[in-house]
C-alpha cells in the first residue's frame, strides 16, 4: 500500500506535476542558480529537505490549525526550516553557501513549498505528505540539475566543475571538454531558453505517449 503510494507520489512529483515543468513554481531560484550542475544540485537538495520537512510538519499539525491562521503558520514553519538549513549550509558546506548566496534564504519565498503545504500537506496524512515532499522536491532538484548540467556544458564547455564546493578538498575544474563556450547559455537569457526547451521536451513526450495510447 505505502510502497504503491510512494511510487505514485514520486511519479507525480518527478514528471506528471513537476513543480518546475508543469506548475512553473519556484522559477526565480531555478533560473538564477542553474549556471552549473553543482549549484543546481546544492539548491536542489536544500529545497528538497525544506519541502519534505515543511510537508511533514504542516501535515502533522493540520488538526489544530484553524483555516484563518494557516498561512501565517506555514510561513513560520517554512521560515524556521529555511533558517536552520542556511545555518547548516554555512557550517558544513561553506563554499556552496557562498556560491548560492542569497538563494538559500530565498527558499522561503519558493512558492512551490507553500503551494504543497496548502494543496497537499494540509489535506493528507503525514506519510503521504512525506512522500509528496520527497517527490516534488526530487522533481524540482532533478530539473535544477538537468538545466545546470546543460547550461554548464554549453556555456563553459565543462561537466561537473567545482565539485569541491560540495565535498571539500582542492578546487576541481571538472571535466573540461572545450575551453570556454557559448557564453549566452550561462547568462540569464540562457536560463529562460533552457527552461523553455525543457518544458517543450516534456510536452513533446507527453503528447507522443498520448497519441500512442489512442492508436
Amino acid at each position: 500500500m505505502t510502497s504503491g503510494q510512494f511510487v505514485e507520489r514520486m511519479q507525480t512529483g518527478l514528471w506528471r506535476e513537476n513543480p518546475g515543468l508543469v506548475q512553473l513554481l519556484g522559477l526565480c531560484p531555478l533560473l538564477a542558480v542553474t549556471s552549473t550542475f553543482v549549484n543546481g544540485l546544492g539548491l536542489g537538495i536544500a529545497t528538497l529537505v525544506v519541502l519534505t520537512c515543511s510537508n511533514v510538519l504542516v501535515s502533522a499539525t493540520r488538526r489544530w490549525i484553524l483555516a484563518e491562521i494557516r498561512v501565517p503558520i506555514y510561513v513560520l514553519i517554512i521560515a524556521s526550516l529555511v533558517t536552520c538549513t542556511e545555518l547548516i549550509f554555512k557550517a558544513w558546506f561553506p563554499a556552496l553557501d557562498r556560491s548560492l548566496g542569497i538563494f538559500i534564504p530565498l527558499i522561503v519565498t519558493n512558492c512551490a513549498i507553500v503551494a504543497r503545504a496548502e494543496v497537499f500537506a494540509s489535506r493528507n496524512d503525514v506519510v503521504s505528505s512525506l512522500f509528496d515532499g520527497l517527490g516534488m522536491g526530487a522533481g524540482f532538484a532533478l530539473l535544477l540539475m538537468v538545466i545546470g548540467f546543460f547550461r554548464e556544458l554549453v556555456g563553459r564547455g565543462s561537466i561537473f566543475s567545482e565539485f569541491d564546493k560540495l565535498f571539500g578538498g582542492d578546487p576541481l575544474a571538472g571535466l573540461v571538454l572545450v575551453d570556454g563556450g557559448w557564453l549566452l547559455a550561462v547568462l540569464p537569457p540562457g536560463a529562460f531558453f533552457s527552461l523553455a526547451l525543457a518544458v517543450a521536451l516534456k510536452n513533446y513526450f507527453d503528447n507522443r505517449r498520448e497519441a500512442a495510447h489512442k492508436t
Binding site: I65, I69, L76, I77, I88, K90, A91, P94, L183, L187
Partner: protein
C-alpha cells in the same frame, strides 16, 4: 466566537515557540563551526595576494579598519591587514573598493611588500558580467597576475592605466570598464602606501566588533 480567536492565538504562539526553539538549537549547534569557517575563509582568501612572502602568525588578527573618509579608493570602510615576520613588518594587504565597475563596486585585495612592490592582487567581490568582466577573477583568466612584481616606478604612476588609455596594462577581451576600475584602485592604493607606509604598521589593530 471569542474562543475561536483565542484558540487561534494560542496555536500561533505555541507553534512560534516551537519554531524559535528549533532555530535557536540549530544556531547553538552551528555557531562555532560557522565562525571557524569564516576565519579560515578570510585567511585563505588573504594569503594568495601575498605571493611567496613568508610571514608569521595570523594576518586576519592584524586587521586595521579605516572608516571613511580615508585616502584609499572607495567610499566605504577600507581594511588593512599587516603581515610580520620576526616582529618586523614584511607586507601589507589592502581590502579596498574599486568604483566605476560595470555593475557596481568591486572589492579588491592588493598586497604590497616593504619595497612597495605588488605581491599580488585578488578580487574579493564583484558582480561583473559572467564571461566578460569576470575575467578579473584569477580562476577565469591570468589578468590579475600582470600586476605581480610591479610597482609605482615600474611603470611610472602616469602609465598605471590600460593600454587603451595610454598605459601599460592589458584590458580584457570585450571588457575595459571593469579592468579600468581595478587598475585605478590599485594605483591609488600604491600611492597611499607610498605616503603612509610607516604609520600603517604603527597603528594598533582594530578590535573585533561584538
Amino acid at each position: 466566537m471569542i474562543s475561536r480567536v483565542a484558540k487561534g492565538g494560542v496555536t500561533l504562539a505555541v507553534i512560534a515557540a516551537i519554531c524559535t526553539t528549533l532555530v535557536a538549537a540549530t544556531y547553538r549547534l552551528t555557531t562555532e563551526r560557522i565562525a571557524a569557517n569564516e576565519r579560515a575563509w578570510l585567511e585563505e582568501s588573504l594569503t594568495p595576494a601575498l605571493g611567496d612572502i613568508d610571514y608569521e602568525g595570523s594576518i586576519s588578527e592584524s586587521r586595521l579598519v579605516l572608516e571613511p573618509p580615508h585616502e584609499l579608493p572607495g567610499d566605504d570602510a577600507a581594511i588593512i591587514y599587516r603581515a610580520y615576520s620576526g616582529g618586523a613588518p614584511v607586507a601589507a594587504l589592502f581590502a579596498v573598493t574599486a568604483r566605476g565597475g560595470y555593475t557596481g563596486p568591486i572589492r579588491i585585495l592588493v598586497g604590497v611588500d616593504m619595497a612597495r612592490t605588488v605581491t599580488g592582487v585578488r578580487i574579493l567581490e564583484h558582480r561583473e558580467t559572467p564571461g566578460l568582466g569576470d575575467g578579473i577573477e584569477p580562476s577565469r583568466s591570468d589578468w590579475v597576475h600582470q600586476f605581480d612584481g610591479r610597482s609605482l616606478g615600474d611603470p611610472p604612476a602616469a602609465a598605471w592605466q590600460l593600454r587603451v588609455d595610454g598605459g601599460q596594462f592589458d584590458q580584457l577581451t570585450g571588457a575595459s570598464v571593469t579592468p579600468r576600475a581595478v587598475v585605478k584602485a590599485i594605483r591609488e592604493t600604491l600611492l597611499y602606501f607610498d605616503a603612509h607606509q610607516a604609520e600603517i604598521f604603527d597603528m594598533p589593530a582594530t578590535a573585533e566588533p561584538q
